[in-house]
Amino acid sequence: RGFGVAAGPPNTRQLREAEEAAPVFQYAGKAARRKDRVFVWGFSYSGALGVPSFVKPDAGWKKPRRIQPTPYRLETEEKISSAACGYGFTLLASNTRDITKVWGMGLNKDSQLGFQRSRRDQTKGYEYVLEPSPIPLPLEKPQQTRVLQVSCGRAHSLVLTDSEGVFTMGNNSYGQCGRKVVEDEIYSGSHLIHQLKEFDSEVVQVVCGQDHSLFRTKKGTVYACGWGADGQTGLGHYNITSVPTKLHGDIAGVNIIQVSSYGDCCLAVSDEGDVFGWGNSEYLQLASVTETTQVNVPRHLPFKIGKVKEAACGGTGNVVLTEEGDVFVWGYGILGKGPNLIETAVPEMIPPSLFGRSDFSPDISVAHVRCGLSHFAALTNRGELFVWGKNLRGCLGTGRMEDQYFPWRVTVPGEVVDVACGVDHMVSIVRSFT
């Protein structure tokens, strides 16, 4: 028995037995954790994306990639908790207790990434950093202090720590680093990192404008220093300030919970949901209260749009997010309501159906808004990223090179936790799905 019998189609019992005897594979255990990743996209020749093979290909068949049009994963050693994009450079920070807490990549012509010692010539520094390189901070207790947040401007950067104040580096020709302006100072290859500690209470948020810096303290006060010709320092004059000075005007005595700036206009949100603005108003950003194009004292913007939760300032346009999860835009440029809306002085709402809210999923709402120089980004509570605005050198990440006139989804393989917008590139901090 067994030799002359034909095989024939396996009957049901044999199939079931074979199935039960098959080995079971395990790809993820019960304790599998979601991984944290960083995705970058945009213009790469400045090194701001942190992928050296885009600028200098490491294999013969690879060609230099000028623009990365879709999100590209960046491998990092540590979990990145905060990222900031400047004008051609990026800072990544992790809130670890290890010695290396901040990495920088991109332009370093003004030492905005600290001193990066060149391997060819030990006395000089790198002008372009192509890979995330550690930034040595002069901390007193390097194994206890944690970095909370980083921020980048045109040629300077700020690092906020939990117990040692704020560290500033980079260009100081307008006092934006918070120290006295030195005539004919050479910023390239400089080792100087300044530490700022004299504020009325702990600093909880740092924001860099184009050539000025804003500091928000725990008590709700705002300090500013740097270039002031458009009134962006909000101190009542149009001169340079080289020491962080407290702002008054309409925000005196008000508990400010968030400040934002990227170009020459600044916005602040109070705990009661009011919006205050100062700085450049050439693009109708503050035209609802004044006709002047430069406002050097914080003014309350009387918008009747509900309680504001978050605000973000771009080069020519501004965006706010209300408690209900609605997004309002105003200013000049591609604002996100189609090609017909180019400029408005009064905030206009972007219909929530463009962010995915429908009868099928009525609980989708926007959780955060961010602004680059000429584009906007919005994060929903489901972790989806929407971008719109001018697509400068592929900074939107949609895969197309055209400008986007209404919010468009960026496909990122993960749930987007935070996003940082620069002039021509963007960085996002993402958690994987499973």
Partner: protein, 219 residues
């Protein structure tokens, strides 16, 4: 004169429904065939209830195929599944806008996008407009899928891919169409009612719906 009432009947079928699936199947009789082509050009969405089972992977993505692999699935939770479904909806939403062949830079594209009326009016790959998890009881789960231009095998493949995304594997146990454009399960006739009177009544009841839909979409 005596004889059978109907000698020849021209019957055409609407969207295909394969052997392993079940549900609403639209047929047109006689002059209704012309209406069928018009309905096809409306490109309306269809709704399916898809049942799946975690832990197995087969070669034809359904539970009657040859077993390829068995995997564990105890790490899967409802939230992980809903996250994956949200991302599927997101990418398909993008595909919806891209295949509709409207220039994104015009104001009318923006208005249609706000109302949610953009959809491809020509041939396109299968697009899913909405997914929702109805039931989740490991190892089984049930999804409600609204889609365009799909085949049932594509839906089974999607269940398989959901299993792969969740680092496990899944097979499709049930595909049931509950809506095809304007026709729902309530309008459909079960096997016991496949006789002349019920068919005539059903045609009369649906006439008004079909006419309004055709007028709205084709103008």
């Amino acid at each position: 004169v005596r004889g059978p009432r109907f000698r020849k009947l021209k019957i055409g079928a609407g969207h295909r429904l394969d052997v392993k699936a079940s549900g609403v199947f639209v047929l047109g009789i006689g002059h209704g065939n012309k209406l069928l082509t018009d309905l096809y050009n409306c490109h309306l969405t269809k709704v399916y209830i898809v049942g799946g089972l975690f832990g197995k992977a087969t070669d034809d993505f359904s539970d009657t195929g040859n077993l390829v692999e068995k995997t564990t699935f105890d790490h899967i939770t409802r939230e992980k599944l809903e996250r994956i479904l949200a991302v599927i909806q997101g990418t398909n939403q993008k595909a919806l806008l891209m295949y509709s062949n409207i220039d994104m830079k015009t104001q009318e594209a923006y208005e249609l996008a706000v109302k949610g009326l953009i959809r491809p009016m020509a041939k396109s790959p299968p697009i899913i407009t909405a997914v929702r998890c109805l039931q989740f009881a490991l190892p089984e789960f049930q999804l409600e899928i609204h889609c365009l231009h799909e085949t049932q095998q594509y839906l089974r493949k999607m269940v398989h891919e959901i299993g792969l995304e969740l680092k496990s594997s899944a097979v499709c146990t049930q595909v049931r169409r509950i809506r095809d454009g304007v026709f729902t399960v309530d309008d459909a006739l079960p096997r016991t009612q496949w006789d002349l009177q019920s068919i005539q009544e059903a045609i009369r009841n649906c006439q008004l719906k079909v006419e309004t839909e055709l007028e709205e979409t084709l103008g």
